[in-house]
C-alpha cells in the first residue's frame, strides 16, 4: 500500500464521481460512497508505517515527495473518516438538491487535497495541495446560493488567499536560502539560519495557519462560511479543514524548527510560543462569548469551532508532552463531536424545512430522539463533561497549563468552557426540550443513512471518553514522532504524581450511584406520565401560541456583556474592504475618458523622464 496510490484513488475518485454522475445519480452515489470507504480502508492499512518517497514528476527542477508517518497518519485518518461519514450523511440530506455531481465531486476533491497536504513530503507539494484545498472549498461554500452564502464564500477565499500568498513568500524564501523544499532536509538546514530569517518565515507561515485555523484576529471568515455551507460540508469544514492550520503549525514548529530554534526566538517573556498561546486564549474567551450571543444553530457551532481551536493551540504552544498530547487529542475529539453536532443541526434543518433559528424550534426530543441523543452527547463532548472524550483532552491541556505555571492561560481556557456550557445548554434546550411548536407536530425522525454517522460518532465520543487509552496511544506516537517524551498512558487514563486521571473509576462510580438513585426513584416513587402543560396550566386554558421560555434565553447576560463582545475585528476588516473599494473607485478616475488627457499623460511621462535625467541624472 503506497501513499501515491492513496492520493491517486482520492483525486481520481473525485473526478470519476463527476463523470459517473452524468450517467446515473445512483451510480454516482454508490461510487462516491465506495471511494470514501476504500480510502478509509487504505489509510487504516497504512497504520504505523513510516517512509518518504519521491514522486516521479518534478516541478520546476524541484523534487516532489510524499511521506507517511504518525503525524500524517493521524491527520489523514480524521480527514478520511469524517469524509466517509459526510458522504454517507449526504446521501439523503442532499437528495433532490441541485448540482449533485458537482457537490460530490468537489467534496471528494477537497478531501483529496486535504489528504495531499498532510502526506506531502516537501513544502511545494504541500502548498499546491493547500491551494487546491482553498479554491475547491471556496467553490463549495456558496453552493446553497443566496447573498449570505456568496458573501461567506468571498470572505473565505480572500482571507485564504492572503494566507496562501504569505505562505508562498515564506516557502520561496526558504527555497532561496537552502535550495531544497523537502521538509526533512529543511529541518536540518534551518538550524543554521539567522534569527531574522527564522522569524520572518515563522511569522509568515503563522499568518497562514492562524487564518485557516480561524484564530482571533483572523477568525472572521469562519462563522459565515460554516453557517452558510450545507451541513455535511460544514462538518468537514469544522472538523478537519480548519485543523490543517494546526497540522501546519506542527510541521513548522516541531517538525522543522524544533525546540532549540523556538527556544532561541524569545525576548524575555515575549516568545513565539507565548504569543501563540495568548492568541489561543483570546480566541477561546472571545469565541465563547460570541457563540453565546448567537441564535442560529449552525452559527453557534461555527463559533464553538473557533473557540476550540484556541484550546488546541494552547496545548500545542505549551510544548510539554502533556500539553502536546492534549492539543493533539483535542483535534481528534473536536473533529468527532463537531461533526456530530453539525450532522444533528443538519438533521434538524432537513426535517423542519431549513430552520436554524433557535427561537422557533423546541420540543423535538419527542420526534427526533436519535438527534437528541447525538446532540446531547456532542454538546457534552464539546463542554468536556466527564466520561466524554472532550473531557480527557481538556483535562490534559488544563493540567499542563497549571503545572507549567501558566494560570492566566488556564483561566481563559476554563472561562471559555463555562461559556460553552451556557451556549451548549441553550442549543439543547431551545431545539429539543420544552414545548413542541404546532407546526412540528408531524416532524419525522432522522432517515437511516443520516442516523448512521450520528450514531457512530456518538458511540465514539463515549468510547474515547471512557477508554481514552485507545486514541491516546496514537496521540502519544504523534508526540514522540515530533520529538516529545513519551507519555505514560494506560487504557483508562493518565497516571502521574501531580494528579491522576482515572476515567473508568469515574464511570463506575457514576454508574453505581446512578443505578441506586434510579432504583430509589422506581421503587419508592410512583409517578404518572402527564402532559407538559398539565402542571403549568393546572387545568386552565393555555395560550394558543408558544409559552415556553426560549427567546432571549440569557438576555440579562447579553445586556451586560453585549456591548463588549462585538466582533470589532470583523468590522475592521469589512471597513478595510470597503475602503479598498472606494480607493478602487477613486483610482479608476485616472482614466477620465477624455483622450486629450491621455495624450497629456504620455507627453508628461516623457517630459518627466527627461527632466529627471537632466536635473539629477540618476540614470
Amino acid at each position: 500500500m503506497t501513499v501515491e496510490l492513496l492520493l491517486g484513488v482520492a483525486l481520481g475518485g473525485a473526478l470519476l464521481t463527476y463523470v459517473l454522475g452524468k450517467i446515473s445519480p445512483g451510480l454516482r452515489n454508490a461510487f462516491a460512497l465506495l471511494n470514501a470507504l476504500a480510502l478509509v480502508v487504505m489509510i487504516s492499512l497504512l497504520y504505523g508505517q513510516s517512509f518518504e518517497r519521491a514522486l516521479p514528476l518534478g516541478f520546476l527542477g524541484l523534487e516532489l515527495s510524499v511521506r507517511m508517518n504518525m503525524l500524517s497518519w493521524f491527520f489523514a485518518v480524521t480527514i478520511l473518516g469524517i469524509g466517509l461519514l459526510s458522504v454517507i450523511y449526504s446521501l439523503v440530506y442532499m437528495r433532490n438538491k441541485e448540482r449533485l455531481d458537482y457537490y460530490y465531486a468537489t467534496l471528494l476533491f477537497i478531501n483529496a487535497s486535504m489528504l495531499g497536504t498532510v502526506v506531502a513530503g516537501d513544502l511545494l507539494s504541500f502548498f499546491v495541495f493547500w491551494e487546491m484545498m482553498s479554491w475547491s472549498t471556496y467553490l463549495l461554500i456558496s453552493l446553497r446560493g443566496g447573498s449570505k452564502a456568496i458573501f461567506a464564500g468571498i470572505k473565505y477565499i480572500v482571507m485564504s488567499l492572503i494566507g496562501s500568498l504569505t505562505m508562498l513568500v515564506a516557502i520561496v524564501s526558504l527555497y532561496v536560502s537552502f535550495d531544497t523544499l523537502s521538509i526533512t532536509e529543511l529541518a536540518g538546514h534551518v538550524q543554521s539560519t539567522t534569527m531574522g530569517q527564522a522569524l520572518f518565515v515563522l511569522v509568515l507561515f503563522s499568518v497562514t495557519f492562524v487564518i485557516i485555523n480561524a484564530l482571533w484576529p483572523f477568525h472572521t471568515w469562519l462563522p459565515d462560511a460554516h453557517a452558510e455551507a450545507v451541513s455535511p460540508f460544514s462538518a468537514i469544514l469544522s472538523a478537519v479543514l480548519v485543523r490543517k492550520g494546526l497540522y501546519g503549525l506542527y510541521l513548522l514548529m516541531y517538525a522543522m524548527l524544533g525546540f532549540s530554534m523556538l527556544g532561541k526566538l524569545a525576548w524575555g517573556a515575549l516568545s513565539y510560543s507565548n504569543v501563540l498561546a495568548w492568541i489561543g486564549a483570546i480566541t477561546i474567551v472571545f469565541a465563547a462569548f460570541r457563540a453565546l450571543m448567537q441564535n442560529d444553530s449552525k452559527r453557534i457551532l461555527a463559533w464553538s469551532t473557533v473557540g476550540q481551536g484556541g484550546y488546541m493551540v494552547l496545548g500545542v504552544s505549551v510544548a510539554t508532552n502533556l500539553g502536546m498530547a492534549g492539543g493533539t487529542f483535542h483535534i481528534l475529539n473536536h473533529c468527532i463531536y463537531i461533526a456530530l453536532l453539525f450532522f444533528v443541526a443538519g438533521a434538524i434543518e432537513y426535517r423542519t424545512g431549513g430552520i436554524r433559528d433557535l427561537d422557533s424550534l423546541g420540543g423535538l426530543i419527542k420526534r427526533m430522539p436519535v438527534a437528541f441523543v447525538g446532540g446531547l452527547v456532542g454538546i457534552c463532548g464539546l463542554i468536556g463533561v466527564p466520561l466524554t472524550n472532550g473531557f480527557v483532552s481538556k483535562w490534559l491541556i488544563y493540567k499542563s497549563l497549571v503545572l507549567e505555571g501558566r494560570p492566566f492561560l488556564a483561566f481563559a481556557a476554563f472561562l471559555g468552557t463555562w461559556g460553552t456550557i451556557l451556549y451548549g445548554y441553550k442549543f439543547i434546550h431551545n431545539i429539543f426540550l420544552g414545548q413542541l411548536p404546532d407546526r412540528f407536530r408531524d416532524v419525522k425522525g432522522i432517515p437511516f443513512t443520516m442516523a448512521v454517522p450520528i450514531v457512530i460518532l456518538t458511540v465514539l465520543i463515549f468510547l474515547f471518553g471512557v477508554l481514552p487509552g485507545i486514541p491516546l496511544s496514537v496521540v502519544d506516537q504523534v508526540g514522540t514522532y515530533l520529538g516529545f517524551e513519551s507519555l505514560n498512558v494506560s487504557i483508562w487514563g493518565i497516571p502521574s504524581e501531580t494528579g491522576t486521571l482515572n476515567v473508568v473509576n469515574l464511570l463506575a462510580a457514576l454508574a453505581v450511584a446512578g443505578f441506586i438513585v434510579w432504583l430509589v426513584l422506581r421503587a419508592i416513587g410512583r409517578s404518572v406520565s402527564v402532559d407538559q402543560d398539565d402542571t403549568y396550566a393546572a387545568g386552565a386554558a393555555i395560550p394558543s401560541g408558544k409559552y415556553h421560555y426560549t427567546v432571549g434565553f440569557y438576555s440579562p447576560l447579553y445586556r451586560i456583556v453585549g456591548p463588549y463582545v462585538r466582533d470589532f475585528v470583523d468590522a475592521f476588516f469589512l471597513k478595510i474592504a470597503g475602503w479598498t473599494g472606494s480607493v478602487c473607485g477613486v483610482t479608476r478616475k485616472i482614466y477620465t475618458g477624455f483622450v486629450g488627457n491621455y495624450v497629456m499623460y504620455i507627453i508628461l511621462f516623457l517630459a518627466a523622464l527627461i527632466f529627471v535625467q537632466i536635473a539629477w541624472s540618476p540614470w
Binding site: W395, Y398, K399, P407, L415, W418, Y425, G499, A509, Y536
Partner: protein
C-alpha cells in the same frame, strides 16, 4: 475500610447536608425571632414526599434528576472528608470542577423538558449565575493550584497541614477573601437566591417537581450545599485530620453563610453578575498574580 467509606461517605454527606438544611431553617427562624420548624423537618418532608404520587413528563425528566443526584453523590467521593477521600486517586480539582457541572446539568435537562417557563427562567439564571461566580472561582482555584503546584486536592490539604491554613498564609489570603465573597453565590443562598426565587418564579427549576422528584431534588440541593462548604474547608481551612473536626469546621462556615443569608435581600441576576465580576474577581485576580509572582 476503604470500600466501606466508599458507600458510607455519600450517605454521611447526604445526612449532613439534609441536617444542615434543617439547621439553617431553624437558625434563620431564630434570627427572625420566630420559633421555626424542628431541625428534622427536611427529613420528614423528604419521607412524606416519597410517599406521594408524582407527575413525570417523560424519560428525560426522570433521567435528568437521576443524573443530577448521582453526579452530586460522586463528587463527594473526590472531596477529602477528614482523612477519608475514597476516589481522590482518580482525579483532582479539575475533575471536581467538572463534576460539579453534572448536578445543575441534570436538573437543567430534566426541568427543561417540562416546558414550564418558570423552570426555564430558573435554569437560565442558574447558568448565568454560574458563569458569574465561576470567573472569580477559577481565579481563586488557579491561585491555589499555582501556589501548591498540584491539581490534586488531597495534596492541597496535605500541604496545608505542613504550612498552615491557606487562609492564614500570605498570598493565598487574598484569594481566600475572594472565595468567601462568592461563597454565598456558590451555595445559592441570599443574596444570590435568585435561581429558586420562590416568590417570583415559583421555585424555578423545582416548579414541576412533586413527590419523589421533589424529594430527590431536595436531596440534591442538600448535597450541593455540602459540597460547596466541604470544598471551602478543604481549600481554605486546612481540611481536617478527623471527620468530626471537619464537620465542625463546616458548621462554622454554614453559620457564617446563614448570617449573610439573613442580612441581605435578594439581588436581581444582573446585579449579581455585576457584583461577582467586579470586586471578587478583582481580588481574585490580585490573589492569582500574587500567587504566581511570590510562588515562583
Amino acid at each position: 475500610m476503604h470500600v466501606v467509606w466508599l458507600f458510607l461517605y455519600p450517605i454521611v454527606a447526604l445526612v449532613v447536608g439534609v441536617l444542615f438544611l434543617g439547621l439553617s431553617r431553624k437558625v434563620m427562624a431564630r434570627m427572625h425571632w420566630r420559633y421555626g420548624p424542628p431541625i428534622l423537618q427536611p427529613v420528614i418532608d423528604i419521607i412524606r414526599l416519597f410517599s406521594q404520587r408524582s407527575a413525570s413528563h417523560g424519560r428525560l425528566f426522570d433521567l435528568g434528576i437521576v443524573l443530577s443526584l448521582a453526579g452530586s453523590l460522586i463528587i463527594v467521593l473526590f472531596l477529602p472528608f477528614g482523612d477519608v477521600a475514597p476516589l481522590s486517586g482518580s482525579g483532582g480539582l479539575l475533575v471536581i470542577l467538572y463534576m460539579m457541572l453534572l448536578g445543575p446539568l441534570g436538573i437543567a435537562l430534566s426541568a427543561g423538558e417540562s416546558a414550564n417557563p418558570n423552570a426555564s427562567i430558573g435554569i437560565s439564571r442558574k447558568l448565568m449565575l454560574a458563569i458569574g461566580y465561576e470567573l472569580p472561582l477559577l481565579l481563586v482555584l488557579l491561585a491555589f493550584m499555582s501556589r501548591y503546584n498540584t491539581i490534586s486536592i488531597v495534596e492541597v490539604v496535605r500541604l496545608q497541614r505542613a504550612t498552615g491554613w491557606s487562609i492564614a498564609s500570605f498570598p493565598l489570603v487574598v484569594s481566600g477573601v475572594a472565595y468567601l465573597l462568592i461563597l454565598p453565590a456558590i451555595l445559592a443562598i441570599r443574596p444570590f437566591e435568585l435561581v429558586q426565587a420562590p416568590q417570583e418564579i415559583s421555585s424555578g427549576p423545582m416548579v414541576e417537581y412533586g413527590g419523589s422528584y421533589l424529594a430527590l431534588a431536595k436531596v440534591q440541593h442538600a448535597l450541593s450545599m455540602f459540597i460547596g462548604i466541604s470544598l471551602s474547608v478543604n481549600l481554605l481551612f486546612g481540611g481536617a485530620s478527623h471527620p468530626l473536626i471537619f464537620l465542625l469546621k463546616m458548621l462554622v462556615i454554614l453559620m457564617l453563610g446563614l448570617f449573610v443569608n439573613a442580612a441581605f435581600p435578594r439581588l436581581r441576576i444582573e446585579q449579581a453578575i455585576r457584583y461577582l465580576w467586579r470586586w471578587p474577581s478583582l481580588i481574585g485576580l490580585v490573589g492569582l498574580v500574587l500567587a504566581v509572582v511570590i510562588g515562583r
